[in-house]
Every structure is written in C-alpha cells, then in structure tokens.
C-alpha cells in the first residue's frame, strides 16, 4: 500500500557526509512519520540525468514529492528544526 510521504534525496557519491545526511533524514522520519514514508536515495554521480531532470543546483537536495505540493530543501539536514519546518512536519 502507498505511504503518505514520499521523499527523494539527491546526493553526490558515497562520502561520509552523504551517509550522515541519509542518517539525519532517517532519524527525523522515524521519529515523526514512523513507517508512513518511502525514501529514494539517488546518487547523481551515477545518474547525472536525474540531476538534470529535477533541475538541481545543490546537493544534498531533499524533495518531498508526496503529499503535494512539492517541497524542496537543501543541505545536510543537520538543523532538525529547520528541516521539520521546511517539510511542514511540526504538529
């Protein structure tokens, strides 16, 4: 069954920074959304066309595709409060 939230996280390569970004996002999602989300991680180093498709400028970029409307944030998602605000996850 479809989840309520769908995230796409764009990263470049497999550096520690990238891994940290993914970890930051996972932590936030687990805490706020429990199991009700899907996350696709896309490495643009491997798939440059994906970067073009989404017209990215910076990495990491997180796109909340669902629920609409789309939300975008950039950065390593370290600032939890900002992430929650930008993703509209504050109760």
């Amino acid at each position: 069954m479809n989840k309520k939230y769908l995230f796409k996280l764009f990263i470049y390569g497999q550096s520690d920074d990238c891994k940290n970004t993914i970890k930051n996002l996972r932590n936030i999602c687990e805490e706020k959304l429990h199991d009700d989300y899907d996350l696709k991680v896309i490495d643009i180093k491997e798939n440059p066309e994906e970067a073009e498709e989404e017209r990215l400028i910076a990495v990491p970029t997180l796109i909340r595709e669902l629920p609409a409307p789309e939300r975008r944030i950039i950065g390593n998602l370290k600032d939890k409060d900002k992430v929650l605000a930008a993703l509209d996850l504050i109760e």
Partner: protein
C-alpha cells in the same frame, strides 16, 4: 580547428574568436581560450546578448557547440528574446549543437546545513558531454548568488564551481550585474575575483544620446586594447563594434585621378581628385555644396563608375528636382544602376546605427565613389565623441575599400570663415575645398579655393565662381582682394599679381630666366 584561435605573439595567451565585429580587434583575437571571462554591466547593457552571440557565432562560424546555463530567465524566454538576432536556438538544439542548463528556479531552497553546488556542476558537465561543447555561457552569477542570499557557503562553492569549469576544456563567459556604470565591478563583489578576465559593457546617456561601450578591464596575461570602445545592438546582427580606430592604416595610396565632375575644378586639383581620397567641402548655406556633390555623382556616372549618395538634408524628390535645375537628370542615372540615392533623416537612427546603415549600403551597392550631404546634419544630433568616432569609422572603412568620397560640411556663418568643421574631421580628410561668399563692390560673389590636397599640387588661388542652369562655372582668381578667408575682404589698389612664390609676375619672370 587550429585556425579558430590565433595569437598575436608566440607567448601570447590563445584566444577564441567571438566573431563580434570590432571586439576581436580590441581584444586582439577574442576571448582567452579555456579560461573564464566575466561580462559585467548594468541591467540592459547587453550582457546576455554578448554571451549568446559568443555561443551563436561559435556554432555558425566555427562549428563549436555550446552550453548556456541560465539562472535568470527560463530558456523559452531567452529563445524568444534572441529570435530578432536571427539565432534559431531551437534548431541548434535539435541538431545537437546547443543545450540549455535551466537553473532558473523560482523557489528559494532552504539551506538546512552544509551543501555544495556539485549538482549544478554535474549538470553542466553532462550537458558539455552531450553536445561536445567547447563554449559555455553562464547568465548570471549574480542571480545564483541572489538565490542563496546571505550565505557564506555560496561564495566558497562559487569559487569551487568556477575552478572546476576550468578543468573541463571549455571557454567560459559569465555575466554579472552591476549597479552603476562607474563603481564596483559587480553587485556582490565576488564575481570578479573568481574570473580570469573582466569585460565591462556600459550603457551611458551622454547629452541625451545613448552610448554603449565595451571595455576590457582585465585580461590575465594577455594583450588587449585599453579604454572604452563604442558598440551598438542591431536587429539580425546583435552586438556590432562601431569603432574602427584599431584598424591598421595600411590602405594603399593611389595616384590615379578621378574627375570631380567639373573640368575647371579638376584643373585646380592638378587633374582631378585622387582616387580613393576623402574630399571635404566646407561652405555656408547656398554656396553650392550640393551642386558640387551632384556634379561629382554625375562625373562618376559618366566615367562609368558607380556612385552612391547619402543625403541627410533633403528628400530624394528635392535632390532630383534641384539637379534638374542644373540640367542633370538623376532619375535617368539611377535607372542605369550606376547611381543610387539614399535619403535619410538624421534623427531616424543614432550615429552608430547610421554608420552601420551606410556600411551596409556600401557593401551592397559596391560604389566607386560616395558622397555625404551633409555631415553637419548628422553632427546636429550627436555628441562630439560620437561624431569623431563616426568620421574615423567611416573614413577607415571607405579607405580600406578604396572608395573616393566627397563629404560636405555647412559653415556656421554666411560671410565669415567660421570653423571648417570640428578639428577632428579636417585632419582625417585628404583634401579640403572651401566655398565662400564675399561682398565685393556691393555684390555678393562666390569664391572657391582648395585649402589642402594631400599628395598633390593644387591651385592656391581663390577663384570666383557662379551657378546657373548649366551648373557651376569657375572663373578667374579674385584680384586685388585680401581677407576672403577671414571673412573681411579688403580691396587693395596696386595692380600686382602675386603668385605662390610670394613675388610678382615680373619678378617671377626674372627669376625664371
């Protein structure tokens, strides 16, 4: 491939031709090869056009493909805006010669920690690979900086981005917004530090006339001309430099004579004007300048030369009618395709555009001789600098093509000498003919003299002439009158003819024997 780049000296930085008329001259070859060059200017100065023209000319002239990165306007708008320059971007896209990287985001992403611009770089790299591009334009850095306002990371990332681009074997032009024409190079004060070279486009208003200039501020390790050079933006062509001051003076000099259209005047010039020379006629209104122009055109047509007239004072109908008053049928001559008359109001275009217009007509008609009647009409609507540039630009152009030219100037006062013209013109022209009114025994008479004629002997007398329905009639020199040129003729009573040796005929005869 190699011929695209040329360097003035062996150790000189390689350059890529922009094929922007005039710019390759002042930059001594174009944009430095495999480096990045900042095009800075205020809004509306033509930065985007310059950047796009660099790419467009690469595609059409040198078979070099291109990537255009836009932060400002979406590609559709750019395609639409550039259509008037005859750049069919959509076609090039289909042919795989051109590609946009659309970074014109409307929404401002919220930074939530450290980030890099490597996504953008990946896209640019990907695009370069796709079309095998060697030229890249980024428009504009300021918009990128604006999207990430007040962010320290963006500055660091911008430097990284620009440095990475250098490793991609492409020649990059980047645009940057300026706030004022003379002040900080760029709005954010960072753009120029990441650039190897800086070109500034200006869009000034001087004496209510728009004046666009280009200046090369910095060309790391490469030679270039210093100072501001005027340019204009034309439909179908884009940016066109209008200063030819950089052209070398290597026009061949001719000793061939061509007729002025009047036998007596030819005799005064020791056999006619020199072919390929520029003759200036200065005189007050009604002294007969336009008549001399008409004779000049007629002389050309009769000698089976093609003549082209640029008239800025009268309409074509008036010119034809005036000529018929001297029994010259210009309409008939035009039918034989030996003559063309272009009548324009000076105010229709600015001077730079007039110059382009004149050049285009010359290129199309390929005349042997041209006449401009009058330069004063053009002077009326221009600033002193632009008229100088116009005259230099025009004269060097027609000299290069070895076209003979007759240019008229209206003297400001009826009787007096006034100025021949603003000084800059008289030094450029090869010959100067003066037409003067003078008051003599209660009558107004006309006088003609040749003030200078480069590379030729000429009559130094001031001769009387009259005008009737057969045209101009040059007669004998005025005798016993002094001060014609100064505008205060005085008759003197002793009857001695003084020749150019400053002695009387009698003394001269003795000396010659």
């Amino acid at each position: 491939m190699e011929k695209t780049y040329f360097s003035a000296a062996e150790n000189e930085v390689k350059k890529v031709k922009t094929h922007i008329e005039g710019f390759d001259q002042i930059s001594r070859g174009g944009i430095p090869y495999h480096r990045n060059t900042l095009i800075a200017g205020t809004s509306g100065c033509g930065k985007t056009i310059f950047a796009m023209q660099f790419l467009a000319n690469g595609i059409t002239c040198d078979n070099e493909n291109a990537v255009f990165v836009t932060f400002e306007e979406p590609p559709e708008n750019i395609v639409e805006n550039m259509r008037s320059f005859n750049w069919d971007i959509r076609k090039w896209e289909e042919e795989g010669k051109f590609i946009f990287v659309d970074a014109s985001v409307s929404h401002e992403p919220q930074p939530t920690g450290e980030y890099s611009l490597i996504a953008l770089l990946t896209r640019i790299e990907n695009a370069i690979k796709k079309v095998n591009a060697t030229r890249v334009a980024i428009d504009s850095l300021g918009s990128l900086l604006y999207q990430f306002q007040n962010d320290r990371i963006i500055r660091r990332e911008l430097i990284i981005l620009v440095n990475r681009l250098k490793q991609l074997n492409v020649t990059v032009v980047m645009t940057a917004e300026r706030i004022s024409e003379y002040g900080e190079i760029s709005r954010y004060g960072i753009e120029e530090f990441v650039s190897d070279n800086v070109i500034i486009l200006r869009n000034n208003i001087i004496e209510e006339k728009r004046r666009r200039t280009v200046e090369i501020l910095k060309y790391r390790g490469a030679f270039h001309q210093k100072g501001e050079y005027p340019f204009t933006i034309l439909p179908r062509k884009g940016i066109v430099g209008t200063s030819l001051t950089t052209l070398k003076m290597n026009q061949p000099v001719s000793a061939k004579r061509i007729t002025s259209g009047d036998k007596k005047l030819d005799r005064m010039c020791n056999g006619g004007f020199l072919s390929g020379s520029i003759v200036l006629i200065s005189g007050a209104t009604g002294t007969g300048k336009t008549l001399l122009v008409t004779e000049f055109l007629k002389g050309g047509v009769e000698a089976n030369e093609k003549s082209l007239l640029f008239a800025f004072e009268e309409s074509k109908e008036q010119i034809v009618r005036n000529a018929s008053g001297w029994n010259i049928d210009l309409n008939e001559m035009e039918k034989t395709n030996k003559l063309r008359i272009i009548a324009l109001y000076p105010e229709v275009l600015n001077l730079e555009e007039h110059l382009i217009e004149i050049k285009t007509h010359i290129e199309n008609f390929k005349p042997d001789r041209i006449a401009i009647d009058s330069l004063s009409a053009l002077e009326r609507m221009s600033s002193p600098t632009s008229i100088t540039e116009f005259v230099i630009g025009l004269t060097s152009f027609i000299k290069e093509k070895q076209i003979s030219a007759l240019i008229t100037i209206s003297a400001p006062t009826i009787m007096g000498a006034g100025t021949i013209t603003s000084a800059h013109i008289s030094t450029i022209t090869d010959s100067i003919i003066l037409l003067r009114y003078l008051e003599y025994r209660g009558c107004v008479k006309r006088g003609i003299t040749i003030l200078k004629m480069r590379g030729s002997f000429h009559d130094r007398e001031i001769r009387e002439f009259s005008i009737d329905d057969k045209g101009i009639h040059i007669k004998k020199p005025f005798k016993n009158i002094q001060g014609i040129l100064s505008g205060h003729p005085v008759e003197y009573m002793y009857d001695v003819v003084v020749n150019e040796r400053g002695v009387s005929k009698e003394v001269s005869n003795i000396l010659d024997n």
